[in-house]
């Protein structure tokens, strides 16, 4: 789609956006708001660009965990006739990089005890952080696979892997060591994030997941299209201004 997409470059887009921005009354230098503002100005740039790289080495996961993550990604979003798979789009890299964020240590959640088991509708009540979920979850699934099939998850056939994941999803395969939220609340959710998130986070290489579903990414300007129930003609744009 990029070959016939000459109409809206990111530069044009930025210019349009700036032109639309009104000349709001400027902030006054003498206001008390200003002094605290100066100190707190966040970096105006988006997060660093870490697009998927072919020779990526994980900085968080161990080799055994990394093998599991790659194998699980390949089954949760396989490469097939519908489009690219999670592994080729860099989703394992996305997950590894997320382990370096405050979220991975439970930094945006209330993590004070006491902790009690509760009905599901009361939400997450585990004391485990995302990092701990992955550490325990992978170990428990590999142990279940060893016990039943004498191999870790990554060494199973695709059909065996699908079967294991389906049973875990349904809850028919359980282990006291496997945190119940791990599969749906962490692994599957993070795989989807990496697959569909901006490529700067390490997944969705070349915006291929966006192209598969017809999502234009961060074009974020549909004034002339919104009233028409028609196919949108342009390919996606990423936060770093690349076009797909």
């Amino acid at each position: 789609m990029s070959s016939n997409d000459g109409q809206t470059s990111r530069r044009d887009f930025l210019a349009t956006t700036l032109a639309l921005a009104p000349l709001a009354v400027p902030l006054a230098g003498q206001s008390a708001a200003q002094s605290s503002k100066e100190e707190q100005l966040p970096n105006a740039a988006p997060a660093p660009d870490y697009p998927s790289v072919p020779d990526y080495r994980p900085s968080h996961f161990t080799p055994v965990e990394w093998a599991f993550i790659n194998a699980a990604c390949a089954r949760l979003i396989p490469a097939d006739e519908h489009g690219p798979g999670a592994v080729e789009l860099g989703v394992p890299q996305y997950i590894d990089r997320q382990m370096g964020t405050a979220w991975a240590d439970g930094g945006i959640w209330y993590m004070q005890g006491p902790f009690f088991a509760a009905a599901p509708e009361f939400g997450y009540q585990s004391q485990l952080t995302p990092k701990q979920q992955y550490r325990l979850g992978i170990k428990a699934i590999d142990a279940l696979c060893q016990e039943r099939l004498n191999k870790p998850f990554a060494a199973l056939t695709a059909a065996q892997q699908d079967d294991i994941l389906k049973q875990i999803e349904k809850g028919s395969l359980k282990s006291p060591d496997l945190p119940p939220a791990f599969f749906s609340g962490f692994l599957l959710r993070n795989v989807m994030e990496g697959y569909f998130g901006d490529p700067m986070y390490g997944g969705n290489k070349d915006m291929a997941a966006w192209k598969m579903i017809g999502y234009p990414g961060v074009r974020a300007d549909y004034l002339e299209w919104v009233g028409e129930a028609k196919p949108y003609p342009y390919g996606p744009v990423s936060i770093y201004g690349k076009r797909g």
Partner: protein
């Protein structure tokens, strides 16, 4: 403890209501200080394109929301249960920082139906007092729509709200909402362009005999300059509205509509990273002397003030009343006490509609407030005599903008992963719309707020405890709306539907997002035995304390609350200016 120089007014929290009260009182010549627990933020750099249009940082990681590690609430369904912390963002999304929830809201900008403000009287007159179920704490709000009308009008003109009037001074107008209460003026801007979902919704509901109208949206449809001289640019339907700050100066927020002027006033000051712990009172307990807050370094500081305004989000306003010991806490066993009483929520039924491959919805386009709605089943616009419930709500076909990280809805029976899932997302993404019903939630004796005995926040203060579950009246209503949604979805041409309709037997599930429209807990009213503030939002117990926000609602209305919250803040400010400042004291005698 260090003590700051006294000010005329200290405002706790600096979102919509804090900004409104600050500018109105600063314009009256008072020395105003706003304390905000979060950080300062403005369109540039915080929400500049492309930084903010990032689904990972904003939607998946709650970029603009309250960091629950610092403070949250606990939740239980019943007073005999143990409450558990709301550890992750789910059912509701409190904001933080300058602008508050006014940054990441959608922009749906409704008023209130006059009968909702006197619902107990209205129901009693029409159906008899016995129609009100046992256990329902239904009460009038002590204020009329007519008193508030100029302030609704004012807030709409501050926001540059896009819409079409259906009733100007009693004259019915074509193209607007025929159920609308009389307005003094037309909306400041014409309606936004209808996206595909809304166009299909309008056509289908009209054919079904209902009365669709363009939902009022605080997303500007044209360039606009508001009464404060602040300018808005036209919305470009970028699809990043709810969860996001506006890249385009199109969505009304304190930053786009009030702060540019307020920040130029020398008698206004803002202190960020100032977390207020309590309102202080003198030895009589009847006069507020100021507040105590914790600064960024963890120091506790006293801020004396002649007048205190609570303008934080619902949760924090109610908790401050409880932790400051102002007013009598509500006791569900005796029914006595008022602080924490009338805690309500809102019921949201959400139905995804799946269309054929030739029907392009393009759900990635949209704006938070754009849509078509019907009010044929709002409040008491329809006869409830044979229905067995009180209340109602809006049904709408909005197109708010959605991207794949926020979740791709799929038809029933679709797999959650694997090749089958891929086929389904590929087939459906461009051809999926959504319709919803947003419903009132009555007040009940069993639903209330108090302080949690176990869990504390990072400052050592007990968390606010919510005791709330869906009740029979509201679930019956929800089932009624479920049928309407299904009928409208079919008429729109959907080939499949999925989603959530609350039914009898369902408990409040805190996991999926449903609505940030929590309300009540410091109800307004005419009777100090059943309300915390009088009609001017002035504390019955401490007359130099004013309490703003949706926490003053006496029950959960069907509309989005921001329009009413803003109008009430303007109404309170106008009365403070006209009456209170001349003679500080109780504006209503007990």
């Amino acid at each position: 403890m260090p003590t700051n120089k006294p000010v005329d007014v200290v405002i706790v929290g600096f979102g919509w209501t804090g900004a409104i009260m600050a500018i109105e009182l600063a314009q009256a010549g008072l020395n105003v200080l706003a304390l905000e627990r979060g950080e300062d933020a403005s369109t540039v750099p915080n929400w500049a394109y492309p930084k903010v249009v990032d689904e990972i940082s904003q939607s998946a990681r709650n970029g603009l929301l309250q960091n629950l590690s610092k403070s949250t609430v606990t939740i239980r369904h019943h007073k005999d249960d143990r409450a558990l912390p709301y550890r992750q963002i789910g059912s509701f999304k409190p904001g933080t920082g300058v602008g508050g929830a006014g940054i990441h809201w959608s922009g749906v900008h409704s008023r209130v139906m006059p009968q909702e403000l006197r619902l107990r009287s209205h129901i009693t007159e029409r159906y008899g007092a016995r129609f009100i179920a046992e256990g329902m704490s239904l009460q009038d709000w002590g204020i009329s729509y007519e008193e508030l009308e100029p302030h609704f009008d004012r807030f709409e003109h501050v926001c540059g709200t896009s819409g079409k009037a259906g009733n100007i001074q009693g004259r019915t107008l074509e193209g607007g909402n025929p159920f609308e209460a009389p307005r003094s003026h037309e909306f400041p801007l014409p309606p936004l362009t209808d996206p595909p979902t809304s166009a299909l919704f309008a056509k289908a509901t009209r054919e079904l005999g209902y009365h669709p109208y363009p939902l009022p949206a605080a997303n500007a449809s044209r360039p606009y300059t508001n009464p404060y001289g602040c300018q808005l640019g036209p919305c470009n339907f970028c699809g990043f509205c709810s969860d996001y700050g506006c890249i385009n100066y199109s969505k009304a927020s304190p930053q786009t509509t009030i702060l540019p002027l307020l920040y130029r006033m020398p008698n206004f000051a803002l202190r960020t990273q100032a977390h207020v712990l309590r309102v202080n009172t003198d030895s009589t307990g009847k006069v507020a002397t100021g507040v105590t807050y914790v600064d960024a370094q963890g120091h506790e500081i006293d801020q004396p003030a002649a007048m205190v305004v609570l303008a934080a989000f619902h949760l924090h306003n109610v908790r401050l009343m409880l932790s400051s010991g102002i007013g009598q806490p509500y006791d569900p066993d005796t029914g006595k006490g008022t602080v924490g009483r009338n805690f309500c929520y809102q019921l949201l039924n959400s139905v995804n509609l799946f269309f054929n491959q030739n029907v392009y919805i393009n759900q990635f386009m949209g704006a938070g407030g754009v849509g078509q709605a019907i009010e044929d089943f709002y409040a008491d616009n329809f006869d409830h005599a044979k229905l067995g419930f009180i209340g109602g709500g809006v049904i709408w076909g909005r197109q708010t903008g959605n991207g794949p990280v926020r979740g791709i809805p799929l038809p029933p029976g679709s797999p959650a992963w694997g090749s089958g899932w891929k086929a389904a997302v590929k087939e459906n993404f461009l051809h999926t719309g959504r319709i919803e019903s947003q419903l009132s939630n009555m007040a009940y004796r069993s639903c209330y707020l108090d302080l949690d005995p176990t869990y504390r926040d990072g400052y050592g203060t007990p968390l606010l405890r919510m005791t709330l579950n869906w009740q029979d009246n509201d679930l019956r209503m929800s089932e009624f709306f479920g049928e309407k949604l299904s009928q409208i979805g079919k008429a729109m041409g959907a080939t499949a539907q999925s989603g959530r309709v609350l039914k009898r037997g369902d408990n409040w599930d805190t996991r999926p997002y449903q609505s940030t429209h929590i309300n009540g807990g410091t109800a307004m009213g005419a009777d100090p035995k059943t309300s915390v503030v009088n009609k001017y939002l002035q504390s019955w117990d401490v007359p130099n304390l004013f309490v703003l926000g949706a926490n003053v609602f006496a029950h959960g209305i069907g509309y989005n609350p921001t329009g009413l919250v803003g109008a009430l803040a303007y109404w309170s400010a106008a009365n403070i200016r006209a009456t209170y400042l001349k003679s500080p004291g109780a504006l209503v005698r007990r």
